[in-house]
Amino acid sequence: MPLLNPSRSAAIRELLATPWLRPLGDPLAIDDLLGLVDPTWSLSAVRARVVDAIRETADARTLVLRPNGLWRGHRSGQHVSVEVEIGGRRLTRSFSLSAPPRSDGLVRITVKRHDGGKVSPWWNEVAAVGDVVTLSQASGSFVLPTPLPPRIVMLSAGSGITPLMAMLRELHASGAFCQVVFVHCAHSRADLIFADELERVARESVHVDLRLFLSNEYGRLGPRRFARLAAEAGDSPAFVCGPAAFMQGARRAWQDAGLGAGLHFEHFGVPLRKPQPGCSSVVHAERSGKTFVALPGQSLLEAAEAAGLRPPHGCRAGVCHTCKCRKISGVVEDLRDGRIAEEPGEMIQLCISTAHSAVTLEL
């Protein structure tokens, strides 16, 4: 049977994707049929099965995933888009991989629960061994420099630890001769993801200098401490991942010290600006390359037309769905009933949607 697995065999993939078979069914239909044999089989998508689940803290959990043969591997520090289906809806989120690549192909993703979120509570409470999720290929340039410098500074806060943990694990496992100053902030000892492993690595390795800041014990990492860290880091590359305010603090300290060029950032998916109804919003139309402003309460269709775009449309009242368009990112409100659409990659009707934040459209 594994011989027939299209995600392992390019020959079978090509055979099933030949245009001559189109009358039998399109690739999506073939994928669906393959999924009946094994939910990880696919012609084009990286599907990954949950093989283990590890509780890290009360609100963070690692899922160990086995991707199918289409997975092309990753480098420590990179991230993937993860698509899961919850309540019939497919939702996509970007997460860092929290472990370096392994020879058996298993990958780890650690997610901290956000109250009011959809995917992170699922990840923490619902997902079970045997479930299947869909991954993108790994991407991102937040990776260890080659060749390795003699010293690296890693700064993280909260769940921002995950890409840095992948890097630390790789450096520790390889025994590379590279000094790591690993600075991490958490609310408390109980919130500290990977606490035991961090302390074990710090004990075992002479290269790792672990500095934990627990805000309930020693207070926050303020401007003075950031400035001291920047001075200490000197021209060693520094990798930063954490909430927006944390990243801002690091950026300012490094820039003040004239070391901004050595700083590498990994941003969270969390928007920097809170959605604001009643304010004008910047809309970016990706395909046409145009950027325009949508006024408060104005439909995106009207705003696009005012900017000289001519999106297809029909009834202008939400009936016919002719103006349906993929919203790549941003928050919009349905002008008829006030429903909020904030999922990345959602389909929206331009004629009855008004922007609440910066929006990027596939237009």
């Binding site: 189109r22 009358p23 069914g25 399109d26 999506l28 239909a29 994928d31 669906d32 049929l33 289906e85 309540g87 019939g88 809806r89 497919r90 939702l91 029909g314 009834c315 009242a317 009936v319 016919c320 769905h321 002719t322 349906k324 008829r336 009933d337 429903r339 999922e343 990659g345 959602e346 389909m347």
Partner: protein, 373 residues
Amino acid sequence: MTHPASHLSTAEIDAIGRQLDALREETLAQLGTSDARHIRRIVRLARGSAIAGRTLLAFGFTPVSFGLGVLALSAAKILENMEIGHNVLHAQYDWMNDPALNSQTYEWDIVCDASQWRHYHNYEHHTFTNVLGKDRDVGYGIIRVSQEQYWRPRHLAQPFSNLLLSLLFQWGVGLHDMDPVRVLTSSRDDEEAAARRAEFPAKWRQFLRKAGRQLFKDYVFFPLLTPWNAPRVLLGNLAANVIRNVWTNVIIFCGHFPEGTQVFTLRDLDGETRGGWYLRQLQGSANIEGGSWFHLMTGHLSHQIEHHLFPDLPAWRYPQIAPRVRELCDRYALPYNTGSFLEQYGSVLARIFRFSLPAAWTTPLGPARPAQA
């Protein structure tokens, strides 16, 4: 003309609109796993039925397996066109974010190109429902189904043209968006016809591409897959297409043409509110009663009234909300046009025969319409 809703005040019409909006929101909030499970089950049912039908046609030798094969393949095409295709193209399942069920990319097993369908059906028909001169689905430009349409001598033949249309229905649906009759026969100063003429070549190429694919699939590819049975497969596919044509035609005609459904004029659109739009949908549509399998095989168009009120709610939810709509109609003394399949289609046929004659020879049927105030 006076409509059965003429006793309602503006405030009452607004209240009806608000109640229907609330019903829509309530149902939207319920959408979830069960809807996803339903549509995926039907996709697999249709696919399984197609595989069974095509296998029976390709590998069987007896008339029994031929008959069963045709039935299974017709059922597959009917389910795919009606419960899956029509409803997916209405964006009923876009919220799932599943590329296989996306209104903008779905293509169905019929000669009609999906994007042309979305234009004339989702936009023209669902926005301007039953408005003479705007909704070309009123009689499909061939058949006179109401007193208000002009009579022309060709309507004398409409009992026959109706039969022909039902046998060839997918071709009618496929050509409808281009409006070839109007493009070919209209005068030079007809602006709308000029607009259609301008987009005709592109749409025509699109139509040929889609129709070619469909013809290749059913009449070349599958027959030649099992060459020893090629004539049998070809004939079986033809039969399945015709059965699907007749069934979809009959069900769709029951949606807006039974006795009691209203037509409107452009003047009715002037200043129409959301409540008014809902009212027009209510009065212009008719339901068919039946069991759950019957509803499924009509793609839930047996709930045409609910479909026209909420075209983008998953159709299998219509039976659940129908009692609420009916109760609202009772409360506001509005007609809720429903009946058995035989009653509704019988009434459609009666109108097709009756309106084949000039207006002067016929009087409005039935007491449905109150006297002019």
